[in-house]
Symmetry: C2
Subunit: 211 residues, 2 copies
DNA sequence: AGTTTTTTTAAACAAACATTTAAAATCTTG
DNA sequence: CAAGATTTTAAATGTTTGTTTAAAAAAACT
């Protein structure tokens, strides 16, 4: 009654549209992407995007929420892990690095669309915010009290970790253009930088340990 | 023969259009901005944008080049200063921070438009690249040879400094939204983070000095 | 002054856009 | 197979886009 099968495609039409929309929106943003772009990428008629999703806007919201959930879920899981702060820092950086290496346009997309419509982020963060902050904050402040790390807020620590990794990919188009890098050269540079960042952040944080 | 004076505006019409275009393009990007947006912001007839600049594209290129030049010039000047590496790091970070605090949309704009049209960056960087790299690279490698700083390439050092400051503003809409920050709270947080970054980078780099 | 050039305007232009319609094609089910 | 529901299509919708036109207004010049 509901589901129909396509002759020459393993995916449902709805899923094909979403996958095409994901790709096109990630690449061009909401303003830069057209309904025809998406239809063409999905190999379907233009009217179908409005048959399955009622509008370009609604289709966008659907995939935006999926993408932001994907973006935050992995981070959130690591922040909740029962591991040492040192391990947690390394794992979070490694995770974000892997995620963005596979999806370089992810942050640009999210950051741009949040700027275009800040309220959109409102619903998403209800749980995310609580999880993120409390879990890490408790652990950080405990270590601060014990004197094992410098006095620092979890917000600054989080910003430090995230900035150094995320900006690598936010600025990838400019970096590769300015330094005339190939894709491989960038990958190598980024990987080396990631290790450097782990080193720098942990060294800075746990500096009071040595001496 | 050439110049005409406006009755009720101190600026020339051409300059008013450029100023409006600067504001609208920075806020919405090329795709999100319309000719009517710009005309309205400038308080002029729509046809005038095409009378002074031949097209939306040409107007965009004009202000894009001005903006990128503004963006790079200050950095370049500091990188060429005859000061110690330690001073140079602090000055560069302070400069970028000030510049982006006054123009928070600057990097988003440049990064997005470079991604949309990578060739556009080509002309700009001819001199910039040379300046940037050689000036800093020489100084860094000398300090490395002297053992005063960790072994590091100027590219990684540059990336470290820039990432930590620039991402603060790239992610400003998301940060303020997620942590429910007011403009003032963000300003304070960003300022504290900037100082933390200077501390972290210099501590990491010059670590071999103490002990 | 009057004439020419420059600037500004209202109106219209074609192209691109998101969206809708109505009919055709396909699948589902009794 | 045949009736009904679902999916897909081609075509057209009205709106917004960037751009042009032709006339009006202002300024410059002799």
């Amino acid at each position: 009654m509901k589901k129909a099968m396509n002759c020459f495609s393993s995916q449902s039409t709805e899923e094909r549209i979403k996958e095409a929309a994901r790709q096109v929106f990630l690449e061009k943003g909401f303003d830069g992407a057209t309904s025809r772009d998406i239809a063409e990428a999905a190999g379907i008629n233009i009217a179908l995007t409005n048959y399955y999703f009622r509008s370009k806007e609604k289709l966008f919201v659907t995939i935006f929420e999926e993408i932001t959930e994907f973006f935050f879920t992995g981070m959130s899981a690591i922040l909740s892990k029962p591991i040492s702060l040192r391990e947690k820092i390394a794992e979070l950086i490694e995770h974000d690095f892997r995620m963005l290496r596979e999806n370089p346009r992810l942050i640009n997309f999210i950051l741009n669309e949040v700027h275009r419509n800040p309220e959109r982020m409102g619903k998403m963060i209800g749980l995310q915010k609580v999880l993120h902050h409390s879990m890490l904050d408790e652990q950080v402040q405990q270590e601060v009290r014990q004197g094992t790390i410098r006095p620092i807020s979890s917000m600054h620590l989080m910003t430090m970790m995230v900035s150094n990794i995320h900006f690598l990919f936010v600025s990838k188009p400019m970096t590769t253009q300015i330094w005339n890098m190939t894709e491989d050269e960038f990958t190598k540079f980024a990987d080396a930088h990631k290790n450097l960042v782990i080193d720098m952040v942990t060294n800075y944080l746990f500096e009071s340990e040595k001496a």
